[in-house]
């Protein structure tokens, strides 16, 4: 499917789901951190300011108490950061209440932000304006601290995300990839049902159950189709046998005219061809259905020699020369299938040969190579093993031979390759 998408939408960059997810998640996280940093700055600043204001109010209370008892302004110790200033008031007080202002601290030779409380006070019938100020020193440190915390948190979060992606997520996604692998290697004609890994994750469970259902349906439909074609082949067999037998009787008629003989001969040849075709199709179905048990190791050198013996007079008739190089080697295959395989390979090399041509048969450990002289055109490698493929239109060839070869090879764990070089057609079987 991935390839399909690639093919149709080349501009879409294929990326892993997790990367795409991160592409949305990470900016969102960063924005969230910035917002939370700013808001925590203001919140904490507000809390601290309230705290300072409390301190200023307590100082105000202490000063008022002192004045009420002693009827004089208190002497202010200057060891504290808190400053209290008494000013004789001439007019009305303008700026009473809390305010923020900058204040020069001479010891540090620096301007500092501070919090002020201004209130009027009457001492011995004289109006004073009292200003208490407390430096807001902590707030600056706080800002720096919060930014530091924010940056560190962002980095730790990113790092964690990366680690989680690498370690944890790949582990979590493992059943997904296992399922994909199982569905990839699944073939409808295999007896074995694909095994999907068990997963506690809901989505994967759902996916696996759907995969399972699809596989089951595919296998069931395939099986039905196979049964149908096998039954169809069998049903055709009986009427074909009747036609065949009637023709056999008809051929025996003594008084057939030349015209009748001609017609009969033509019908006979076609029915014969149909019977062969039907038997080949049935054979393919049976191989497909794995109705041939593997007989175990067979020494195929001798089998090939016997088969050469059987073909000898066919080759002599066409003036075909045989070159052989046959070693003793074994192959795990069903004996009947081996016979059919060799029949088809040899018949193929004979049928498509030229008059006075050559067939080379070479058998070594794990390799059987049969090459023959033939037309100066290579066969269509894409299609040669397809059913009913006919390289050269040939009335006597039903186009199933190579398909049978391929089918037998498949069930016997043999690889078949076709190659063409300078009028030489070669089939290589390796196992």
């Amino acid at each position: 499917m991935v390839w399909g998408i690639n093919l149709w939408l080349p501009e879409v960059v294929i990326m892993k789901l997790i990367n795409r997810y991160n592409r949305y998640l990470l900016p969102a996280l960063i924005v969230l951190f910035i917002i939370s940093t700013i808001s925590s700055y203001y919140l904490i600043k507000g809390v601290l300011q309230n705290e300072l204001d409390e301190i200023l109010l307590r100082s105000k209370g202490r000063i008022e108490n002192y004045v009420a008892v002693n009827h004089a302004a208190p002497v202010i110790s200057s060891f504290d950061d808190q400053k209290v200033i008494f000013e004789k008031l001439t007019g009305a007080i303008k700026d009473s209440g809390f305010s923020s202002a900058t204040q020069f601290i001479p010891e540090q030779n620096k301007e500092h932000l501070s919090r002020r409380l201004v209130f009027p006070l009457q001492i011995n019938n004289e109006q004073y304006k009292v200003t208490i100020s407390e430096p807001l020193e902590g707030t600056r440190h706080l800002t720096i601290l919060i930014v530091k915390i924010a940056i560190v948190t962002i980095f730790i979060t990113l790092l964690l995300l990366i680690i989680i992606n690498r370690r944890v997520l790949s582990k979590i996604w493992q059943p997904f990839y296992q399922s994909l692998e199982a569905i990839k290697t699944f073939h409808v004609n295999e007896q074995q049902h694909p095994q999907f890994p068990d997963s506690p994750i809901n989505e994967f469970k759902l996916m696996n159950s759907h995969f399972n259902m699809a596989a089951k349906n595919a296998v069931r439909d395939y099986r039905n189709l196979k049964e149908f074609s096998e039954n169809a082949s069998h049903e055709i067999q009986t009427p074909l046998a009747i036609i065949h037998s009637k023709l056999d009787l008809m051929v025996q008629q003594e008084n057939l005219s030349e015209k009748q003989s001609e017609l009969l001969r033509s019908v006979y040849a076609s029915v014969n061809k149909l019977s062969k075709l039907q038997q080949s199709l049935l054979l393919i179905t049976k191989i497909d259905n794995r109705q041939f048990q593997n007989n175990g190791a067979i020494e195929i050198g001798q089998e090939i020699k016997n088969k050469i013996e059987q073909f000898q007079d066919l080759w002599q008739g066409r003036g075909i020369t045989i070159h052989t190089q046959i070693e003793t080697t074994v192959l795990h295959i069903n004996k009947e299938l081996l016979d059919i395989l060799l029949d088809n390979l040899f018949a193929n090399a004979t049928r498509h040969n030229i008059t006075n041509g050559i067939i080379n048969i070479k058998l070594t450990e794990g390799l059987l190579e049969i090459s023959n002289t033939g037309t100066d055109q290579p066969l269509d490698t894409e299609r040669i093993f397809k059913r009913f493929y006919k390289g050269i239109p040939n009335g006597d060839n039903n186009g199933l031979g190579l398909s049978i070869i391929k089918q037998i090879a498949e069930v016997s764990a043999i690889t078949v390759n076709y190659s063409y070089q300078k009028e030489w057609h070669s089939f290589r079987l390796s196992w």
Binding site: Q237, S245, R265
Partner: protein
């Protein structure tokens, strides 16, 4: 010689009976399991031609019963089921040969003849075909003038003719008989022609009449009185 044809398809059964009757066999037919079963237990046959799928029971079951009552008839299975398992099971149960539908009647006749020859207890390994004496055991052919040297294919061809004397053997049937499945090649007809030509020449050189007649377009016929 008496044969039993157990085949549920009357048309096919009739064809087989007709062809084999012309080959000097008398044929009894059974179209279903129960009639086949009663004929097997009472009759005496040289060979039984047995279809495996029958109404009322399996041909394999008939085979089992036949062997259980110690009948020694030869059995040729003809079946639409070309499955190897059936073949193996049939042969293990004591069938003598197996032929898959559709088949040439000439081939059926050859197989029946071969079974009867094998089953004959008189130790007679020879087939007499007019002036020819075919020794099945040694695979040799002789006339009154001595042995006729034949190649293996020529010998097989002659034996095929012997099972189908005075019958037209089509070229297709000869090819299938001599080369089996792999002979699906256009120029095998030429090879048939050369084999026939050689066989005819060798037989005539041994003092036989010209037995083999070409039947226009169709095949060949082995003519003996």
């Amino acid at each position: 010689m008496n044969l039993l044809i157990v085949e549920d398809e009357p048309e096919l059964s009739h064809s087989i009976a007709t062809y084999l009757f012309q080959n000097k066999f008398t044929c009894d037919t059974a179209l279903d399991f129960s009639s086949a079963n009663s004929k097997i237990s009472t009759g005496q046959y040289s060979c039984i031609i047995l279809d495996l799928s029958l109404p009322g029971g399996s041909g394999l079951e008939l085979l089992r019963r036949l062997k259980s009552i110690n009948k020694t008839e030869g059995v040729l299975i003809i079946s639409a089921k070309n499955s190897l398992d059936d073949k193996i099971e049939g042969l293990e149960l004591g069938a003598d040969d197996y032929l898959t539908k559709p088949f040439h009647l000439a081939e059926l006749s050859a197989r029946v003849n071969a079974i009867i020859r094998r089953k004959s207890f008189d130790g007679n390994n020879t087939v007499i075909l007019d002036k020819l004496i075919i020794n099945i055991a040694d695979k040799t052919v002789a006339t009154e003038n001595g042995n006729v040297e034949l190649t293996r294919k020529e010998y097989e061809l002659l034996l095929y003719f012997a099972s189908n004397k005075n019958r037209v053997l089509t070229k297709e049937s000869i090819i299938d008989h001599l080369w089996g499945n792999h002979a699906n090649m256009s120029d095998t007809y030429d090879i048939i022609y050369s084999h026939i030509k050689n066989l005819r020449k060798k037989l005539m050189e041994s003092g036989c009449p010209d037995y083999i007649k070409a039947v226009y377009g169709m095949g060949y016929k082995f003519m003996v009185a």
